[in-house]
């Protein structure tokens, strides 16, 4: 099964067996880092009519969307 959002590319080896790229994607998500590849995959899959943002534009937008609220607690 292929779903979006960093889950693409899962191997047949079961839940805990993932590729290096997938591992890096997960590490990025844990730290709340932007994942440009996953974003591009998302746009191509869901909005084939739109051109995805450039990496820089995506990075800036991501940073903006995450800097307004409380993301770190005491």
């Amino acid at each position: 099964m292929r779903t979006e959002g960093g889950r693409a590319g899962r191997r047949a080896g079961g839940k805990w067996c993932v590729s290096w790229r997938e591992l890096l994607a997960r590490v990025r998500q844990v730290a709340g880092m932007p994942d440009y590849e996953a974003y591009v995959a998302h746009v191509l899959a869901r909005h084939p009519d739109r051109a995805p943002l450039s990496e820089r534009e995506f990075f800036d937008g991501f940073v903006r969307s995450r800097s307004g609220g409380v993301t770190r607690c005491c």
Partner: protein, 677 residues
């Protein structure tokens, strides 16, 4: 088969508690404490959180989550449950669950541990879970927005004011902990100072030189960070460099204020974001390492289960076991601040509703486990050493010799030579009266890591632990200042529209300065306080954090009642009643207690009396009196705002229950998921 396994888990937990309760004697292994805690967590997760998930909240996997419906590949992203668990945990866990238990160890390890475990199961994890669920059903709305929509605009405004003012106290007390840990420590100062250029390098790396390469930049950052830890050792050993990095409290406090302002004004990518990445990895790594260390060493707990200080005469902070054990440990048992995270990024990333149980309830159980580990790290210290590090110099009589005498009077033994040799082992000049919790936690952690890897590197481990704490405290300070700035801009925008424009530079500078001045004032006063500041600021922080939990539980109860679940509303009402009892009692005592050690106003009167008898410097005396009155006012303000929220909420509940108002919530409409479950 499964039933038998669960009976065994429950028995293991019960055995742990029994041994802790019945034990009399010298020391006891940390194994029993861990067994009691983990056994309780597992049973609570399996049974209570399931009851909450299915019967009370009704998590529905057929319902599409906001991440699925609004997926934009950016902030709304369906995320695997374990990845999101890690992300959420890194967001909620900070210095709070580490420092609170260390301070509360003044009562012995038992009261704090019971509260950490029982509190999280019945209160803290419930709060996080319910708020996460509420926000999940409302496209990731914030706590303030939910309060406004479900209870009313006045309550919404009150909640926002509460959040902003609590943030000010929180940032001041956290900054004070770092200042106290770095005071007179060239090694610590050098290492922490290095994190700023390292973060800026990372920022330029991932923004300008190699756009988007965040992991690459972070890997470089971590290597440089470890190098700066070793560099700190060389600096501290150098007769030329060491004095340059040996700073006093006031200088450090101003440096902190300047840093907070810069981080709030500069673009996020330049300083705040890269430091956040650095701190996240160091945090997760060190907490895992600490868990491995404690399990591998299973150190004996040298601190008694209960100390004589439960009567309120303790030197670390004033006040009796009730309510102050429950105030001192806020994070780890119940933390109102989590309600802000649980209604922020996390609900926008849940892939399925059912995952909210692991992430909301399970995430908070994990933070509670961190608090239990901090309690272990404090309890491995000799009681005499623990009190020598954590008591203010004024309480210890001013010198190493008088400290040993004073501590003997409390019934524990420590010699000046013992403290000297410990300080040398840890690579510090002194560990006497290093209040704030961070240094004693670092000594405890260094001893645990020393137990695993050998005693040769104790000084390195000590400074690693200090760096680890300071790193993510500063991350909270900079992120908090920025969030405070946004909130202030939003509030100020109501009065003069241009101030509400978050990217208009005059407004940025103005509101950042106001927020920094707010916490900076309390920080400087804490540094100048002869009792070390933690004495007055930490209880204020504990009270405010739990009052915020009160606000969150009011919102949670409203959501339940409006969703027609009034029969089950006790799951949030019981913790609400407890939190209000504890905080109102503590608030009352902090303001009105006749004991000048405890009550702000009584302390102000005692200081005035000393001033009148001219046994105190007039300027210093006047400042102390003003600060006491200010602290009393702040405490009263917190209580008043929360009381307002409680009354407004209760009114809303009665209106709905009596049928005068329709029981409808602002949940988004049901959309069936496209995922194959």
């Amino acid at each position: 088969m499964k039933a038998i396994a669960w009976i065994l888990v429950a028995l293991a937990g019960a055995t742990g508690w029994t041994v802790l309760a019945l034990h009399r004697g010298e020391t006891i292994s940390a194994a029993w404490l861990l067994m009691a805690a983990v056994g309780s967590y597992l049973v609570a997760y399996r049974f209570y959180s399931r009851f909450l998930a299915t019967t009370v909240l009704g998590l529905d996997d057929r319902r599409a989550t906001p991440a699925e419906r609004l997926n934009n590949g950016r902030d709304f992203v369906p995320t695997g449950r374990w990845v999101l668990f890690g992300h959420h945990f890194a967001a909620i866990a900070g210095a709070g669950p580490l420092v609170g238990p260390v301070l509360a160890a003044q009562f012995g390890y038992l009261p704090g541990t019971i509260w950490i475990v029982a509190g999280v199961i019945l209160a803290g994890a419930v709060q996080d879970f319910v708020i996460l669920f509420g926000s999940l059903r409302r496209d990731g709305k914030s706590l303030g927005q939910m309060a406004k929509e479900e209870i009313g605009p006045v309550t919404g405004l009150a909640a926002m004011t509460a959040v902003l003012s609590i943030m000010i106290i929180l940032l001041a007390v956290l900054a004070l902990i770092v200042v106290n840990a770095l005071k007179g420590s060239p090694w610590g100062v050098f290492t922490i100072a290095c994190t700023i250029p390292i973060a800026m390098l990372m920022g330029f790396w991932m923004k300008v030189w190699r756009p988007g390469r965040t992991l690459e930049a972070t890997a470089i950052g971590i290597v440089l960070l470890l190098a700066s830890l070793e560099g700190g050792r060389l600096v501290a050993a150098s007769p030329v460099l060491a004095p340059l990095f040996t700073l006093g409290g006031v200088t450090l406090a101003w440096a902190m204020i300047a840093y907070g302002f810069a981080a709030s004004v500069l673009p996020v990518w330049m300083l705040l974001l890269p430091r956040d990445y650095l701190s996240t990895f160091v945090k997760i790594g060190t907490i895992l390492l600490l868990a491995v260390g404690i399990v591998a060493v299973l150190p004996p707990l040298r601190l008694p289960a209960l100390t004589p200080f439960i009567d309120g005469s303790g030197p670390v902070f004033a006040g009796k076991l009730f309510p102050f054990a429950f105030i001192t440990i806020a994070c780890g048992a119940i933390s109102g601040f989590h309600a802000l995270v649980a209604s922020g990024t996390t609900p926008k990333m849940l892939r399925r509703e059912a995952d909210a149980r692991l992430i909301g309830y399970g995430g908070m159980l994990t933070e509670s486990f961190v608090a239990v580990m901090a309690m272990c790290a404090a309890a491995v210290l000799d009681p005499g050493v623990y009190f020598a590090i954590n008591s203010p110099l004024a309480a210890l009589g001013g010198s190493a010799a008088s400290a040993a005498e004073t501590i003997r009077g409390w019934g524990f033994t420590v010699t000046p030579e013992q403290m000297d040799s410990l300080a040398r082992q840890m690579g510090e000049t002194t560990l006497l009266a290093r209040v704030g919790g961070a240094p004693s936690l670092a000594v405890g952690m260094a001893q645990i890591f020393g137990g695993v890897f050998g005693d040769g590197l104790l000084a390195l481990w000590y400074h690693f632990a200090i760096m680890f704490e300071a790193l993510f405290i500063l991350t909270t300070v900079d992120a908090g200042t920025r969030v405070g700035r946004f909130m202030l801009q939003e509030l100020a925008g109501h009065f003069w529209t241009p101030l509400g424009r978050t990217s208009w530079y005059p407004s940025i500078l103005f509101s950042s300065a106001v927020v920094v001045a707010g916490w900076g004032y309390f920080l400087i006063q804490g540094v100048l306080d002869p009792l070390g500041g933690i004495n007055s600021l930490w209880p204020l922080f504990g009270i405010s954090n739990q009052l915020l939990a009160g606000v969150a539980l009011c919102v949670g109860t409203t959501l339940l009642i409006k969703a027609g679940k009034a029969r089950h509303a006790w799951v949030t009402l019981l913790p609400l009643a407890w939190v209000l009892t504890v905080t109102f009692t503590a608030g009352w005592q902090k303001i009105f207690s006749k004991d000048p050690r405890l009550g702000f106003l009584a302390h102000a009167r005692a200081t005035s009396a000393k001033l009148a008898a001219s046994s105190l410097d007039p300027a210093q005396g006047a400042r102390l009196v003003f600060n006491d009155q200010l602290d009393a006012l702040v405490a009263a303000l917190f209580v008043a705002v929360v009381l307002l929220v409680v009354v407004m909420s209760a009114r809303e509940w009665l209106l709905v229950l009596r049928g005068r108002k329709p029981a409808e919530t602002r949940e988004t409409a049901f959309v069936e998921t496209a995922y194959a479950n």
